[in-house]
Structures are given as structure tokens and as C-alpha cells.
Symmetry: D2
Subunit: 135 residues, 4 copies
């Protein structure tokens, strides 16, 4: 299992008139969590794209337990429970506020695609190598 | 069953550097679909809030089958398969492009809450009455 | 002078906890206004990009006179006071609510650039021809 | 003069299909810059709102010199050139990338308003005191 934490400060723009973070904005928080999880492995998603592999989202689920509020300092926890064995990778994601309360849980699945042909491909070797010690 | 269609033109801001609509933006498209579904019943969500009932999202799922692209004229189809019997309401949502291709499917559950106390409440009578003929 | 009107319904996502539209979202409203202004000429910005000309924004100003609110049906008025004579085009933009109140004024300047080289270029002939009758 | 720097990592969601940060998203970057400028004084905008003073934006200008790109680590520099003497406060804002290149300059003016009456008010004493040493 590989787990990574990253912090995000809630922006004013991300609130709505219900005085909470708009439900759609968690997709961005989860994205930041995934990108930082990859960076903490010593890689970068930006470099992955540059080297020819893109990772579009194919499935997204979220449960909203408690609201996040303006200026909250959130912790986004991103977990890989399994090392991907084919073109699909699934991240489990949780958002906590500064009091340690669990606000949101989610699961995001992405495909590995070759950027030039959009054909499915396996997990890149450099990513598999970095993940191997955790599984 | 109650079904409603509404159209949305994809904005440049909604694309990302993968040349498709960012996956998080479908939450907004689904929101517009739900709001217009209520408006087509002769009600408005704005008035519901003003009369004391808010509807926060508690669960969200989406499957991304095909990408939406800049300037696409999308049809958002919003369906209630069951009339809500308690504080929870679930919308089934689909997004089609101008060629009739199904791009995205989703399901969004919301709670009816009293705005002043944030306590769960049932579906408002005026909404239940408007929906009754469809079930 | 060329003027075009288009309508936009304020989305819940576009409000913030001040119960008004977040100031940054007017950039999207103005974008929609410009794109529809071009469409009303019988062209499309999407096709312009496909034919090799992109139009990045180089300058943006906005004055916020009155707030827009959730579910408002806004009119975005987009005006070209002068036909562009070089690589720069400037749109004057106004946002009105459904009561005819002027909410926001703005001015957005963009460059015509060749997509492949990012070099400045003049206004495309097909756009100049469509605009000519108005000046 | 009071100057504050804060860093922002560009999110995938903030790019558009021109492969750069969408021009409207700088409003959020500038907002983060202002909020962190206030935090670095030992105050918080969140507390200001809670104590009854809100600060809506009344004017916004930006010049886009060079594009920001996905995953750039931006520095947002926020400067008060003058201490506000009435209900208006003006921030000068600059965005640099990780190579020290100036990407964007802007100016944002806000009003101090009483939250309950929306009447204009002067700068709160606690903010004026914190700023006094810099002018």
C-alpha cells in the first residue's frame, strides 16, 4: 500500500452561497492529492505527459460527510491499495480538515494512455519501479 | 419517472490541456441539469432555498466514456427514477454531445435540509405535488 | 460598431459565500460573450483555432458595480468599437441582470497569433470581411 | 510599502486547451496572494469577515505578459503601496514563475463594507495597526 498526504488551503473562490466548498471542487483537491503522491515518489505527472503517457479519469465517486469551509487547511490523503497490473489505476482519496475530521472520501480511476495514439498502455516502468517497494 | 433535458455549450475555461473538458466540471453540468429539471416542473431551486430548504450533495458518481470538447453543445439528461420518500433524493444524469453520443453518466444524491437548523427534512410538499403525476 | 448580446444563467458553483458571483468568474462570462459575438457573425472561434489562429487574452479590466446572484439570467453585451487593424483586438463588455441593471463593465484585449509559431498575425480575412459592414 | 510573497502550484484544472493557465484563473491566484499577505501580518481575512467586515472586489485589471503552465510553481507578490485612508484598498499583484520570469501584473481594488448593512466603512483598526509600521 502506498499512501501520501498533502495540504490544501480552501480558497474563497471554492466556496458557494451555502458557505461550504462546492461539491465539484473536490475533483481538483483529489487531483492535487494524486499529483503530489506521484511527486513524493520522486516523479512528476508533468514529466509523464512529456514522455508520452497521459492519464485521463474514467471513473469518479465521492461521499460528502461534512463540509469544508473557507480558509480550512485540508489534508488530502491519497492511497494506492494495489499496484496497477494493466491500463487502469485506482486511487482512494480522503479529505480531512485541520481538526482531523474526515470530510470526504472518494475513489478515482484513471487509464494509462499513449499520448500520440490514445491507445491503452500499461503502467510505465519508471512508475512501477518506484511503487514496487510498497507492495 | 421524470426526465428533463437541458443544453450547455462547453466554455473554453472548462477545457484542460488534454483538449477535453476537465473531469471535475461535470459536477457543474449535472448541477445545471438538476436545476433546469426543477424549473421545467414550474418551480425554482432558488425559491426552494428562499423558502427554507437547501439541498447539499451527499454522494456523487460519474463514469467518463468519451470526452467532451470545446464548443460542444451538450445535452444533459436528468432523470428521477423514484419519487423521494424521505430526506434523500437521487438524480441519474447523462451527458450527450451534438452527435447524440453518450459521453458521461452519473448519479447524484442530495439531502433535503432545513436551512435554519440544518436538520434533515422530507421532500417539500410543493415539489412532491409537481412530481406526483410522473410516478 | 458591432454589438452582440448573449444570455447566461448564473450557476450555483459560480457563487461564493458572500452570496454573489465570485469576481473571477466574469472572465468566463466575458469569454462566452466574445465567442457568441463571433458566432452571430456566422463564424466560430473553434474553427478559427482549427484553421491556425489562436487568440490569447493579453489585457483584462473589470469594474464591479452591482453583484450578480444565483440563478440570475444575465445579458452579456459585447461590443467592438473599432475594427482591428493589426494583431490586437479589443472587446468592450457589459453584464446586465434580468431587471436591466448594469452589473459589470469590462474591456478585454487579445492578440491574433499563429498557432504553430505563436507569431503575431493580423486579423484573419474571413473575420475582417464579416466585420466590415459594421464599420 | 508592504509586500508579501506566497507560492501556488498550477493545477491541471487551471489549464485550458491552449496549454496555459486560463486567464480568468489569475483572479484566484491574486485572491490567494491577498489572503496570505493579510495572514503574514498576523491576521486572517476569515476572522475579519467573522468580526463583521467584508471586502468585495470593485475593480480588477491584469496584463498577461507570459503564460503560466501546468505544474509551474508560481510566486504571487502582493504589494500595498499606500495605506488605505478610506473604504477603498488597492493591492498591486505580480505573478512570477520558478525561473523568476514575470508572467502577469495586476491591480485589485476592494471596499471595506459592514457585513450586516453593506455600508462602506473605513479600514478596521486592527488591520491599520498591523500595517502602520510599513508606511
Amino acid at each position: 500500500m502506498y499512501t501520501s498526504d498533502t495540504q490544501i488551503r480552501v480558497r474563497y473562490a471554492e466556496t458557494d452561497q451555502m458557505n461550504v466548498v462546492y461539491y465539484g471542487n473536490y475533483a481538483q483537491y483529489f487531483e492535487v492529492g494524486r499529483v503530489e503522491a506521484i511527486r513524493q515518489l520522486g516523479l512528476s505527472y508533468k514529466d509523464m505527459e512529456a514522455s508520452g503517457v497521459i492519464m485521463p479519469v474514467v471513473e469518479f465517486t465521492a461521499k460528502y460527510l461534512r463540509p469544508a469551509r473557507y480558509d480550512d487547511l485540508l489534508t488530502v490523503r491519497t492511497t494506492l491499495k494495489d499496484c496497477p497490473v494493466d491500463h487502469r489505476i485506482t486511487f482512494h482519496q480522503e479529505v480531512y480538515n485541520q481538526e482531523g475530521k474526515l470530510l470526504t472520501t472518494g475513489k478515482v480511476s484513471l487509464y494509462f494512455l499513449k499520448k500520440d495514439t490514445m491507445a491503452r498502455t500499461g503502467i510505465p516502468d519508471y512508475l512501477a519501479e518506484k511503487l514496487a517497494p510498497y507492495f
